[in-house]
Homo-oligomer: 264 residues x 2
Amino acid sequence: MRWARFESNGQPSYCVIEGDTVIPVRGSPFEAWERTPERLRLADVKLLVPVVPPTFYAAGMNYAEHVMEVAEKLGRKPDLPPNADAGYRTVNALIAQGETIMIPADATDLVQYEAELVVVIGRRCKHLTRENALSAVLGYTIGNDVSERTWQKSDRTLWRAKNTDTFKPMGPWIETDVKLEDLKTTVRLNREEKITFETNKMIHGVIDFLVNMTTCLTLYPGDVLWMGTEGATANMKHGDICEIEITGIGTLTNPVVREGLGQP
Amino acid sequence: MRWARFESNGQPSYCVIEGDTVIPVRGSPFEAWERTPERLRLADVKLLVPVVPPTFYAAGMNYAEHVMEVAEKLGRKPDLPPNADAGYRTVNALIAQGETIMIPADATDLVQYEAELVVVIGRRCKHLTRENALSAVLGYTIGNDVSERTWQKSDRTLWRAKNTDTFKPMGPWIETDVKLEDLKTTVRLNREEKITFETNKMIHGVIDFLVNMTTCLTLYPGDVLWMGTEGATANMKHGDICEIEITGIGTLTNPVVREGLGQP
């Protein structure tokens, strides 16, 4: 099942997507809901980010090759994370399917995509076990953890490197029927394939994070956890189109514009 | 003017507080609002955290003596922050005036208060200037940035050290009429004064943060920014009462319980 949010008379509304058909619902996937009789064409609606999370968690470094790559770029020793310690990103930076990644005028050319699986929490939970952890997951979507690498090197908290407005594309929708071990992530820049990797080949997996995090914190409906990215990443420049596909979920597509250069 | 939130028939509702009188309002301080004719006694209402922030920012290290103290505790070289780079805390950890700080059973004895001024953003804003930055502030409240010091040393992201459930008391209300340069912060543990400091003697002040942050991110109504703490901090133990007073705002009071030890 595919959950999305779209703009309906200027207001956000949840919907179910079946093929190219959008079925608006009353309510939300996190509470009671029912289908309305209305039917729309997917091409005719403006999708929003599929959820605005109460807390926006991010695994950070969570794939072995990416840890090596980033360490080399930053001139540091690679440091594999010993624990599933979640970090944070911020909602100001979220943009939806099709919206523009805006590179600030003062950013360097080192603005790069990071293709990530996103876990969407479905219910309030604490003290999850390895056995029941996945039952707290509503479904999965796709995130692009856009990063300015020079700011990543200099920022004490990554606030600007990772959380500049428009640096967190997320979508297009939440897919509830997912087999993690079957997923493949592919990044394309202007239709050219840059990398393909097994999505679930993480250092610490979804279950590891959910169990570890909920030892001491409560997760809430709509919280998201971005799972990190693999391998080398490349620069995105004015006029590029960045696509991230995760098989079985969909494709997140966003154009890239550099501030001050006008429309590409 | 004092804005608070309280529980009304199981639902959160904004109110204005005048002396010991609670005046419920329709709406919120972030949009249109009006006073209702109802009047309640402050002693009779359950206060909630005064706002649930879309993003929960924290200055982190932002007072010179505290930087020295923490460096010594962690066995590191003191490192004054060169820029007003904001970090993050999380909403799961928020508790209100009077609610209990719950120390997890597996925490060490090094669970400590940190008394902080909290800035509450009143309107959507970006590219603030030194001249107009404070016009984006609705008002100020008080935060206790409870921290487990051994986890702070070992966590890659401070997720557990700082964001364990109940580790972020905030309140009791938002005071809109504040002269930053007049404020004094005092911490009392079981009525014994532990420290008093000039609240505004920060390394990077409120205006510095708001101007720097909004160079690349949009702040939203209800976002909060915790400004850091000064000096040495002490352990809180089962049965303690922690009070943080900031003159002109109020006093945030929370009891402390260690999990598994029952009621003090």
